[in-house]
């Protein structure tokens, strides 16, 4: 785990137990930012889903946890990167359409509903990057 200049933390997802590490750290950061129980549960669960996707579908990758402050609000931004197979038919997977990629789709679409911003970049045969942001609520 290193801490680049902007204060974000990087975690490798090289084993199933790394998912729990990522989850734990996300929970800590969320609580430090003053997220309430509901917001904490939401972002922690999203992190667990996305980290698990990296492990299950790409067999490894990394995640970054960053605090974001833009003067008006504070939040946490998570990024999950892998060099896995990528997602061929993204819209359909997000809608939960494919049965083979069912858990992947459910994890993605489920996480999407738990966060404020959701960005996904995927190229079949190259890999996938998912970035999610959750802001502290007032």
């Amino acid at each position: 785990m290193d801490s680049p200049v902007d204060g974000s933390e990087r975690f490798g997802i090289d084993s199933e137990s790394d998912i729990a590490l990522v989850r734990r750290r996300v929970r800590e950061v969320a609580q430090e930012l003053g997220f309430d129980a509901f917001a904490t549960a939401a972002i922690t669960t999203a992190a667990s889903e996305l980290a698990r996707n990296v492990w299950t579908h790409a067999h490894g990758g990394e995640s970054t946890i960053a605090r974001v402050l833009d003067g008006r609000r504070r939040g946490v931004r998570l990024e999950f990167r892998d060099r896995g197979p990528g997602i061929a038919d993204l819209p359909r997977v997000l809608a939960g359409g494919f049965s083979t990629a069912r858990s992947l789709g459910l994890g993605l679409s489920g996480s999407k509903r738990l966060v404020d911003e959701f960005r996904i970049d995927t190229t079949p045969g190259v890999g996938t990057t998912v970035q999610v942001t959750k802001w502290a609520r007032y």
Partner: protein, 301 residues
Amino acid sequence: MARLKLDAREIESRRAFFELTDDDLARLASLRSFAERHSKEIVDALYELILGHPDSRAFFSSEAMVQRVKSLQREYFLGLFAGRCDGPYVEDRLRVGAAHERIGLAPKWYIGAYSRYLRLLLDRMFADFTPADAQASYLSVSKLVAFDMALAIDTYNAAYLDTMARQQAAIRELSTPVIRVYERVLLLPVVGTVDSHRAEQIMEQLLVRVVEEQARAVIVDIAGVPVVDTRVADHLIKTTAAVRLLGAETILTGISAHVARTIIQLGVDISAMHTLTRLADGIELALGLIGREIRAKAATP
């Protein structure tokens, strides 16, 4: 009040957008002695404007206050020529902005004052430097002033958001009272329009209360909700599902004839939920779920 803060990433992003480069900062640092030379007259001229205007003069209760503020202003002015725009610089500017906001100094005075600064600097730069240098210097300082103004506006926004947050919390408490009508039976009368934000809050508050009270039944009365569309119905369905996960049942009451027609016509399926028109019927049903019933008293002989 939540502390306003910018992280390094945000500062970078703003500097890029304001085109505030290291060269600009270096040029400003090189103008330090120029700034010191003119600082007294510039600050005096600034306060001539402020004290000359009846509305802005009202902020100054005494001559001592004016002097104190002038010396703080001089520090602020010289800060523009420190050659830095980093975390500590930003924190300092935000602190000043917060102090102004606390005393109720509106942005118009702030921005008007910045504008005067720029005019005063422009005159003196063109008097002291070559036209080329004066122009370059002026551009650099105007970029930093714009950057500072954005920070000032941010502090005002942060303060408004804080106030709004407090008010919203109060409104939330008042507008969604969860009432214990009987042991382990809760009643939530929903009144007014329910947007997504409010619906989420209602659900969360309700779930917390269900666990706190170990309520077996929750009556949600929507007679006071003016419009029940697919979104509202969706929220009700979600809330019912969440309440069920906790181990309690939801009874929806206050379904008017109009709402019943709307829901069916919209094709929303809430048949899995207990739905009723009258609150009294909902209460009876809820009591039934906890093994109680309402009976007429036996006639007294």
